[in-house]
């Protein structure tokens, strides 16, 4: 669908990675020149938990629908199954 985003925000994944790694504020190198790839190692520890697993299940209309769940974000709505209306009603 045009304009649809189905991904976990990367900034959330990085925040969880920082929590998991117990990284200190100093480790984020706040005061040096920002370099591409400098956070690459942060995500390694969470690789499995950040994977997105799709699952097929019957839709209300009777067909199959593909659903997605974000690891460690159980409250996230299922956007693939929520094409209209208010997020809270999904």
């Amino acid at each position: 669908m045009p304009g649809t985003k189905h991904t976990l925000p990367l900034v959330f994944a990085l925040a969880m990675a920082v929590e998991a790694n117990g990284a200190s504020a100093e480790a984020l190198h706040m005061d040096v020149k920002l370099e591409p790839g400098s956070f690459a190692g942060l995500l390694d520890a969470l690789q499995n938990e950040l994977s997105i697993e799709p699952a097929d299940q019957p839709s209300e209309a009777g067909g199959q629908t593909r659903q997605v769940q974000w690891g460690n974000f159980p409250n996230f709505p299922n956007f693939l199954n929520c094409f209209s209306g208010n997020w809270r009603n999904c």
């Binding site: 304009g3 925000p9 504020a25």
Partner: protein, 396 residues
């Protein structure tokens, strides 16, 4: 020369009159002619590599001010030569979006991005009709129609200093209205907008704080809000390929106005009075080829100065996530394309980068963090592989 962004302006006309608009021709009802569309097809789109994923964007004035039948004709001309991975997009104020427009977007797989400046009181303070009436309800009606049709439009929000202490209001606005893909900007001093609301004081820290607050609310509420600038920087720092700054790379972005005027670097440049660069109109698609324009005096001079400006940016802490800034802001703020830092840099790219780092730093000391709290909540029965996944029946 491989354009990654092709910005087409079907008409300079706009159906509303935002107080911060930089468009000096927004009363001009000129409509891009069929020969101009054909020239865009033959000289730009047909010459894209077959694996090009270029974006073809209908842009300012207000693109829905052009009739739907005009687009039907334009798509018919352009679609046959478009590389399969390229895509059409439209940046609109949403005021005129109705079922007929949605049908066009659906049929042509056009991505839609809406300009909505957040909650009603902030939006309606500056985005008004030509008669001075508020437009928030009209824009929200367009958003709702698009959402009901299955679209998830990105929303671009232009910030004002008055809104910066109200991050919670903005977050609630996005969440309540199912908006999960947003972009923040500031009103810029360029074109006919001769003064920015951010002039006169340093607002960088306040914008940073605002973005951090929005991120925190989204994270704690587990609402998947994508802030385009933050996500882009997070991607670069995480090792994603850097696509480069098309604002400083000749012809990475191509701009074609309704009358066929051609420019590059950024669409706003054509709104700037700069005789030394022919007002940044480097040619006309009806009479010129992009390759031939490369030899023109005005283009060569502008390119040389822009390259100097990129060099001047190289010592900046943010250079690797920015790539050399925005020439139009350099010119409008400093009168020179070879300048380095601008207020626009500080209030957009730099503020977004600082917000990302501040947000992540806060998580370094959060005990237990959301990750830990959710790990404790998640039941053991799972779907898929990996112990962190929850039963699908708990999701619906």
């Amino acid at each position: 020369m491989q354009p990654r962004l092709i910005i087409l302006q079907p008409t300079p006309y706009c159906n509303i009159a935002c107080s911060y608009c930089y468009l000096s021709h927004r009363n001009d009802r000129t409509l891009m002619s069929a020969p101009v569309v054909d020239a865009v097809r033959d000289k730009i789109i047909a010459k894209l590599p077959r694996d090009s994923s270029a974006g073809i964007v209908w842009h300012a004035g207000e693109p829905t001010a052009a009739p739907i039948r005009w687009y039907e004709d334009a798509y018919e001309r352009l679609e046959p030569v478009r590389p399969p991975a390229s895509n059409f997009a439209m940046q609109t104020n949403g005021v005129a979006v109705d079922d007929r427009w949605i049908e066009l977007f659906r049929r042509t797989r056009t991505e839609v991005s809406l300009s909505i400046d957040g909650p009603e009181r902030f939006h309606d303070a500056r985005r008004l009709t030509r008669n001075g009436k508020p437009t928030w309800h009209l824009a929200m009606r367009g958003l709702k129609r698009l959402q009901d049709a299955g679209f998830r439009p990105r929303v671009i929000t232009v910030l004002h200093p008055d809104g910066l202490p109200c991050a919670d209001e903005y977050f609630e606005f996005y969440r309540t209205n199912g908006i999960s893909d947003i972009s923040f900007s500031v009103d810029e001093m360029e074109g006919s907008n001769t003064a920015s609301s951010f002039q006169g004081a340093d607002h960088k820290a306040a914008i940073t704080k605002f973005i951090v607050a929005v991120l925190k609310l989204a994270y704690e509420n587990q609402y998947p809000l994508h802030i385009r600038e933050v996500e882009r920087i997070a991607g670069i720092l995480s090792g994603a390929p850097v696509s480069g700054n098309e604002l400083v790379e000749p012809w990475a972005a191509v701009v074609v106005a309704a009358d066929g005027s051609l420019s590059t670097y950024s669409p706003e440049l054509m709104e700037v009075t700069a005789p030394e660069y022919r007002n940044f109109v480097f040619g006309n698609i009806l009479s010129d080829d992009l390759a031939g324009i490369g030899d023109s005096v005005s283009f060569t001079a502008a390119s040389r100065e822009i390259a100097k400006g990129v060099d001047a940016c190289k010592s900046c802490r943010y250079f690797d996530i920015c790539g050399g800034g925005s020439p139009v802001n350099k010119y409008c703020e400093h009168g020179s394309l070879s300048a380095a830092e601008t207020e626009f840099c500080r209030l957009t790219t730099q503020a977004a980068a600082d917000a990302l780092l501040d947000f992540l730093s806060a998580h370094a000391d959060s005990t237990p963090g959301l990750l830990q709290r959710n790990r404790e909540k998640i039941p053991s029965r799972t779907v898929g592989k990996g112990a962190a996944h929850v039963p699908i029946e708990t999701l619906v």
